[in-house]
Symmetry: C2
Subunit: 335 residues, 2 copies
């Protein structure tokens, strides 16, 4: 049982469109919520910042309805059960789920994604053993399907998802080329994240670099960005290429639907496949994926970075940080 | 053995870009070619006109190199062997393959796609039992994969490929909505080609019609056109939708890469798949497909139209006819 009496929540204040900024949110304090029968009270220890949160806020067609104005910001979190009125869940259990940017959440068992292993660090459960690792795993293995010797291109290859996707491709025997912004991130792609080479999109001509580094073209492209980088990647496909559409970080705003070069002819001529996906659709295979990810992490073949921000008040600015590329690995807010 | 002494060929005269017009070709007459050892002389009876021929001419990235200036125009054809120096092929055999827009072709056994059945009409071997039927079969069954009750959208649904694709979807138990140009073609989609409804893109607002006819969205889209119609279709996808990219008839020219609304966010939000394909990649499964197509044609469940033009001199204008939508079914030139 907790001794706290209040709950701080970060709620959505306004829906400005584009990349959510710190002042689109506000902190509200209210009473500690009480779990009803079959519910539990979770005290959040870590909450996540994800590029996908932009899409959870903007009032556009999406896989989930947008967060309402005045509603607690939706986020994945790791917390500890401090009061349980639900069968099978005990005080002290560490669990993860969509508990939101707040100190405490009242949740039902169905809202618990999983219990953490005893030695599992909280931030990892939000990153490499959470949404990011699962996204990389299914996008790479189910859509990109790299065979040994394939050339695989990954955009945002130093990011939380991209770095895992690149390493998973390399573990399949593929030759991986990463795209990242800046020399430091590019060095990390090669030194830590399994890439044979990396392209700095901020200083290099991506098309020229792709022609040089992938002279026979790209068998698979794990796309985190859309925009000009992806337009260029499409011109370097090999026949039967696979494109996993994971994110659109390079597009600031989808409200006025942005234009770009048409993809149909690329796909037709190369008999290529472009497929959007969400890790959450693969829930029946999470156990398989987590076992593989844990094994690779344990034996040092899957490396990851995390950046921890301290304090719930850091959450509102965290999404914009991601889109400015200022984070170093998975961005997690510690409460 | 033939008694002819000359061969007329339609050769590519100029590469103007865009839709090939009649005067981009010229007729040349030369000596009758003679088959060497292992070769045979085929007298063409029917040659095809296909929308894909635009792509075979324009000097753009494609799955085949472009037809050279002065070269006989590449086309599928049905002909009769009039002289054989190849084992296993006899005079009088009717065969189909890429024999070109010409009276006679010298070909090797590897260039023969197949022998026609004794009772098989030549035009059908170029259409419903040729490239068009095979394209519809694999695009619909391998990519669109309609389940009973699915809503399937087909563009150019009165065309040679689209009409077959629509009927194959209906045969799987799907509800099919066709898009075609003009009231007559739309009526044909519903009365002959298995569509539950048809949208006349020339007079109707396609988005409004889709919202009305497919209120729950589209599970699969067989795309023959690209352009504005496909942009609209993308806004009406259901989750996990499949798009078969078969043709791009609505785009006049790919030389200056045309712009359009970006597809990535549609694909991501709907976890949709967009895949380009060519029937020729499915050669190992042609026997299966032809058996199915023949069966459906024989029992009246797969209907098709053909329009025959008489004389090789009609070939040069035939591609532009297709792009003007003036043909009524598969366009075939009879020699």
């Amino acid at each position: 049982m907790t001794t706290a009496t209040g709950n701080r929540r970060i709620v959505l204040r306004t829906r400005a469109g584009g990349i959510p900024q710190a002042d689109d949110f506000e902190l509200r304090t209210g009473p500690l919520p009480a779990p009803g029968p079959g519910q539990m009270l979770v005290c959040n220890r870590f909450v996540a910042a994800e590029p996908a949160m932009r899409g959870w806020i903007n009032d556009e067609s999406n896989y989930w309805p947008p967060v309402a104005i005045g509603e607690t910001m939706r986020s994945f979190a790791v917390g500890e059960i401090v009061e349980s009125r639900a069968d099978g869940f005990a005080e002290g259990d560490r669990v993860t789920g969509l508990f939101g940017w707040q100190d405490y959440a009242v949740v039902e068992p169905a809202a618990i994604d999983r219990r953490l292993a005893p030695d599992e660090p909280g931030p990892a459960a939000l990153g490499i053993l959470g949404l990011n690792g699962l996204t990389a795993y299914f996008g790479m293995l189910d859509i990109c399907r790299p065979a040994p010797g394939d050339t695989v291109l990954v955009s945002s290859a130093a990011g939380a998802v991209g770095s895992a996707a690149a390493q998973i491709a390399a573990l399949q025997g593929a030759r991986v080329v990463g795209i990242a912004g800046g020399a430091a991130k590019c060095a990390r792609c090669v030194e830590e994240f399994g890439c044979a080479a990396a392209i700095d999109y901020k200083t290099e001509d991506v098309g020229e670099a792709l022609g040089r580094l992938c002279p026979d073209g790209v068998d698979a492209y794990f796309d985190n960005v859309s925009g000009a980088i992806s337009d260029t990647a499409l011109r370097h496909l090999r026949p039967f290429a696979r494109i996993a559409v994971c994110g659109t970080a390079a597009i600031t705003d989808w409200a006025d639907w942005p234009q770009g070069p048409r993809v149909e002819r690329h796909l037709l001529v190369k008999r290529a496949t472009m497929r959007g996906f969400l890790a959450t659709d693969y829930a029946p295979r999470f156990a398989e994926a987590l076992a593989a990810l844990r094994g690779w992490v344990a034996d040092g073949r899957l490396r990851y970075r995390e950046q921890i921000l301290d304090g719930l008040e850091r959450a509102p600015g965290s999404i914009a940080m991601l889109y400015r590329g200022e984070n170093d690995g998975k961005l997690v807010i510690r409460l």
